[in-house]
Symmetry: C2
Amino acid sequence: MTGYPKDTEEYLRQIYRGRPCLITGGLGFIGSNLAHILVKLGAKVTIVDSLIPAYGGNLFNISDIRDKVHINIADVRDPHSMNVLVQGMDFIFNMAGQVSHIDSMIDPTTDLDINCRSQLTILEALRHHNPTARIVFAGTRGQYGRARYLPVDEDHLTIPTDVNGINKVAGELYHLVYQSVYGIPACSIRMTNTYGPRHLMKNSRQGFLAWFVRLAIDGEEISIYGDGSQKRDFVYVDDVVRALVMLLADENTVGQVYNLGSMEPVSVRQIAEMVIEIAGSGSLRLIAWPEDKKAIEIGDYYSSYEKIKRDLAWKPTIDLREGLERTVSYYKEHKEHYW
Amino acid sequence: MTGYPKDTEEYLRQIYRGRPCLITGGLGFIGSNLAHILVKLGAKVTIVDSLIPAYGGNLFNISDIRDKVHINIADVRDPHSMNVLVQGMDFIFNMAGQVSHIDSMIDPTTDLDINCRSQLTILEALRHHNPTARIVFAGTRGQYGRARYLPVDEDHLTIPTDVNGINKVAGELYHLVYQSVYGIPACSIRMTNTYGPRHLMKNSRQGFLAWFVRLAIDGEEISIYGDGSQKRDFVYVDDVVRALVMLLADENTVGQVYNLGSMEPVSVRQIAEMVIEIAGSGSLRLIAWPEDKKAIEIGDYYSSYEKIKRDLAWKPTIDLREGLERTVSYYKEHKEHYW
């Protein structure tokens, strides 16, 4: 359509230039990085965020593009706001969510309201007010639970080990049903561990790698459960948001679900050691598994990204060392806005 | 433990005699049939039901055992009631639900409240007030969606075609997570089409076979979409409730999910013809698919019951002809309580 290969910035610019895009959770980690790439591609970006203090929304995340985006404070659980906000949008990046696994066990109904009920609210808003908008759901590897085989592909059973994973399963399935029944052009991406600038760094509830980075920068001790040998995959946030804009740029992704994945999995211990080395500070300690965390621990886990590579030519481009160097450098510079 | 083979009534009587059992949705179709078998086995049965007019609760369903059960009118969405009602129970048959696929598309958030949120309410009640009670979740073949292969076993992917199926997926997964994380001894059964006495017969929203039976008894025309060649499996309700009591009688089923299934699948057209023949009245007409129903139609579907046969020696014992004869005879006799 545009003459450029689909994995190039020129192609994406032709798709997104001047087009209205809505990002739910757009002041959070992935949402705000997405806002940056969309602004760069020339899109008209509207951010919806509730700025609930415990979650990841942070106005500093978009301070450098503040005059290029429209910010609308609202909660995705509110049908009245969503009915208005979806109108006129061409692309909807549905990133808002409660992302803490531990919190989902402590307060399962709040997780349900945000990760299930609000998805129905958004989809009903689209169905009644903008049924042709492209929408992508922010899924997670937590939908799979323990890996029955590795790497985990999109045909793996989805048997989560916590309430958050279950609500994400339901949230994604609503999108697929609204696609097949009402023709709303939805798709889903199942992200694995995402890391990089603009993460919530105030506590450890939204992923351990960001917390390792904070502890190392502060010269503190990183505690690892067990021997830290369980493997994980980590994708730098720039690769993740590029996948998101590629997904909605291509109409062949409608009704589809895609994993993301990394170049190669590493152990939790390896990554802790790498963070300490790059930060030039911090130390490592191995401790026994706490009961509440052990119950929802999944063992080795890493994803196959063959499907998105085949369909969209997406692959991770930033290796772990480079990504961690950028990450550590960012937080060292902007620590006061995140700590 | 009891000396009797596990598939015998003597064995089940030794397990259930004098034991407090709670049936949510106990005035509905499967719940009330379950109340009958539990009373017969000597259990102390408490029925919880909201008697919401549009759903399947019907006091006539338990009129013949009215003095042998305790009835508590309450809504499973109400945490205060559930926190009290689960206390002191040994066995909980969690049958309450919104079961209409079409209704789940018209009003998805009500389906979510009943089939997702109330499951968390019940499980939280158990976690805090009775964490050792055995509980079985009433799942459905609708959790699988379209069959990728036949017969569908428990390892089949769960990609429902409607909101009801999604909420049932989530409801079941909550049970499995509360089992693995909190040790609540939960299991799930994924029922296929269940038929027999005590069904809701006022409308066609809770399954087509019951509606065929009503139309045939009334001498009316049964309309079938397309050519009626799509295959289904039907299990007589007595076989279903026997499976439920066998499941909770055996501690090896904790954390497990089981399909039910029939002797052999039949086409929708075949079963309509059989109903007309047995009723001695009614007629058949083939019509084009309505759009709203076609969108959530799943094609051929039948389940494998190999797993429950292997683990519990359960198998269907009542064939379709005998089951339909009993069903037609029941409604002819008690029509005024169901029409």
